[in-house]
Symmetry: C2
Subunit: 404 residues, 2 copies
Amino acid sequence: MADWQEVSGGVTAAKGYRASGIKAGLKPSGAPDLALIVSDVGAIAAGVFTTSCVRAACVDFNRQVLESGSLVKAILCNAGQANASTGEEGWRNAVETAQLVQTALETEESVLVASTGVIGRQLRMDLIRPAIPQVVAALSVDGGDAAAKAIITTDLVTKAIALEADFDGIPIRVGGISKGSGMIHPNMATMLAFVTCDAAVAPTLWQEMVSRACDRSFNQITVDGDTSTNDMLLALSNGQSGTPGILEAESPTAQKLEAMLTEVCIYLAKAIARDGEGATCLIEITVSGASDQAAARQVAKTIAGSSLVKSAVFGRDPNWGRIAAAAGRSGIVFDQTQLDIQLGDFVMMSQGTPQTFDRNAASNYLKSPTVQIKVKIGNGAGEGTAWGCDLSYDYVKINAEYTT
Amino acid sequence: MADWQEVSGGVTAAKGYRASGIKAGLKPSGAPDLALIVSDVGAIAAGVFTTSCVRAACVDFNRQVLESGSLVKAILCNAGQANASTGEEGWRNAVETAQLVQTALETEESVLVASTGVIGRQLRMDLIRPAIPQVVAALSVDGGDAAAKAIITTDLVTKAIALEADFDGIPIRVGGISKGSGMIHPNMATMLAFVTCDAAVAPTLWQEMVSRACDRSFNQITVDGDTSTNDMLLALSNGQSGTPGILEAESPTAQKLEAMLTEVCIYLAKAIARDGEGATCLIEITVSGASDQAAARQVAKTIAGSSLVKSAVFGRDPNWGRIAAAAGRSGIVFDQTQLDIQLGDFVMMSQGTPQTFDRNAASNYLKSPTVQIKVKIGNGAGEGTAWGCDLSYDYVKINAEYTT
């Protein structure tokens, strides 16, 4: 059905990108913790950042770079320290890190930086300075997996995808990696996601595409309702596919590229929700009948974020009243006599009236790896989807024992 | 310091009130589940209700009664079925229940109704009809405790208080009862709270006082971020104290009464937060330096609602970065270089810069029954407080196993 096919390689699938991931000693576990993504030629860059007013130094730094409109050569990402709430010293460290990468790559084009880990801890510059020549030396056209591994924290699995589509005989590829897996309720994007593309796209159009794709993907997932200080989606496009420039938003090629980009972002976002801290399943909530897409998405995301809905799914308890309650408090006004609720194939409420259903079978359905909830709130054309995960004992365990 | 003193009796402490609580068989546990509060003379009534558009039938019914301005004779409350998401049948049951109480009390004055329990279940009218003469027969001037017991669900403790103050030689009393303890993130009031007062107050002034008190108390607690379909604060005042009428908002007597009413509401709200499902402590967050009180309250409530802050407190982990992150995403904009964070007496961040502190001592402090977090976001005069509880394994356990 889709106009594209999946290919391997993650962020190094698109032409003209290399990546690497190494152990710099920033994580107490000794796991890989420093990733680098480099474009052979300066790429246009788009970004979406946390809306929090407590922001990591790297967020502010990257916003400045993107506002300058300069081409981007590389993205460096460390795990272990978030470099958020670190004051002036944190800012100086972000700037120095980018400069060190520029020096090591012998480039004057811009370098973006990203961090994830404990808030309030300074970057371990004593470890990062000597590690930068190493992460540059490790760059490879097959390095997408290594980079995906080096950006994760409490994630159980790496998250990477790449798609390829034919554009008048020439392939364009879009690939990406992301990490979760707590403090996930992006008010822009998940904690960190990096996307690479080899299309030649007008910079403002690329930013528009990235923002819209983000709204439909990373902004529609929630693990625990906590928007992070470091949330960041960065997307590069370097024109190395050799396809003609994509300049007009309304053109079929632009729409095809945006659809492929959105698919990559949705894949990465769902992977984060499914791997949410302590999660045992992915919950997909589709809302229809709203006045517009934004309203539908808001209702869907409110249900995805309800601790009571999440606990009920973990307990395999088809307690649909909690779905109704979460929809009702979303801030989107609807007539409760129009409300339909369906869990998998089980109709639980129709036109505001409870329906009888097989509770044991519905409870069994809740053991599926993906649980689907469908809610209709009226007769409008607006539809939207959100993704979340269940709330388990392990979420509490992971977060009660994080820094001590 | 306070102008008032605590007295016993809860909702029957004020003059001219009787109450009762009986077992009608609505709860599978067989615990008391039907409560009645009656004023000897028709009382003026004020209310604050859930802002959810999925509302219990009793919420809509009571709003109609309050809008009519009629005097209120009684409040009947059942636990076991929430009578929310129950369609037309649910509405008819709410109306019939109120009429049955009117008949049993031989009154034409209005009766308010409230329900709590599982959403989507119809009221067990077969059990309620025969129980109403019994709950009327059980009315007593000492019945406040019995009523407090009959309105709870997963609550571990009953919640009741009464205060008395002297008004030019004559005492006025305000008493109340409430229940939690999950689906607690009131966008008005907690699930259910009933307040009685024997002052003679102008009805519109009473409603204003009740709304303001609610904003500073029930609207500032959160257990799990889930606003309920049944949230309701009802407050009666029957003039039986014999004190002169309180008519002017600016008068010293009105201000004294409002302060006492607010104290009762804050006590009941804190009791709900402390008894939140699975909670092991009360968390009190005070925010200062905001542009106004509403902004300060919003920041405080966002921190109180953060799953990550709550998990860290449960784990006795002084991970203050999560407090900074929650403040930053509250929707209130501030300059992060002005941010101060204090946990008990431990200063963790000052002017946006991390401070060194004794982690072991801070972790020990988190074992206190009440954990105090102080946050300053600037130099404004706005202050506000919110209350929450920690997030424990037991919250998940309770909510994973609720209906099945």
